[in-house]
Symmetry: C3
Subunit: 131 residues, 3 copies
């Protein structure tokens, strides 16, 4: 039996690589701004890059369960088509927030939107299965 | 073939929504206490709300693998019945910890307990399958 | 149908328990160095233990998707054989970083290495399935 969710799997791995990339930015920002581990504060320029990574982890954790449970009920292609907005939004978020905290809104919204659609869709699918 | 884990999926999404809600509380606390991003400290009232969200993410990450692997061996209903304690414990944790750090114990215990039962059960199931 | 990924499941739970253990170390370090919640800074000895736990969570989140999607295409035993390096690397990371920030490199590398191999392998598997 072939694996039924290749596109959902691809979106998952793209999202994981975006998260990995935000971690590389933190390491670069540590060197650039002279913030040595274990410190995580002391320079707002560093702190914004640090918060991009932390927030991306939190958002990834909220995104993946809904993505996969949406795929179970609405199919691989729909889940992936909605889910692919997440890494795009996150890259925008990372670039804009690294420059200025006030600019982080649109990229943030663009990752929360697919997360919420997939999560609500997953709950609808679960309810249709149960009742 | 119908999806065999609808209740486990429902508990998963409830837990994800509780985590999402703790994030909304952080945004509200930023506004209320005037802690602008990227700062994550400066006011203990804000910091407690912030720690609720961070800790809930960490706990969710520990909870979900055990929940699902428990479900594989002991069935959907048992996993969900034990797992549903997690979001209840987290809501208690969020409310009490937001008020005072000393009060966070019971809610914390009530989320760690199902996590540990499910994790240990998952290991038992894996061992029965392997040996 | 017996569950096809018992070794991958075992590595998953070992990794989750290692993460759980890093959280216990934070609680012990809070007591030892007198850093009361919600504070997460104030003593570099505490901060290193705290960063071990935070970083382990981030790394676990990056590790698990690749581990499982690698297992789907390359089988349970290969995924587990590569993946078991992760908890070993993390224990080395926790012990060395707790002592001195400069010593954290090897343990960090030893967790990122299996994560990257599994992630790249997962993408290769997905591509072979899709095209």
């Amino acid at each position: 039996m072939p694996f039924a969710f290749p596109w959902t799997a691809l979106v998952t791995m793209i999202a994981v690589f975006v998260f990995f990339w935000t971690g590389i930015q933190v390491a670069r920002a540590r060197a650039k701004y002279g913030i040595k581990a274990p410190a995580i504060s002391g320079n707002p320029d560093f702190e914004r890059v640090f918060r991009v990574q932390a927030n991306t982890g939190e958002q990834l954790l909220q995104f993946l369960p809904g993505l996969w449970l949406f795929a179970v009920w609405f199919g691989d292609l729909w889940a992936a088509a909605i889910g692919v907005v997440w890494p795009i939004g996150r890259i925008i978020y990372a670039i804009t927030y690294s420059k200025a905290a006030e600019k982080r809104g649109p990229g943030f919204g663009l990752t929360v939107l697919p997360t919420l659609i997939l999560a609500i869709g997953a709950v609808v699918g679960i309810m249709m299965r149960l009742f």
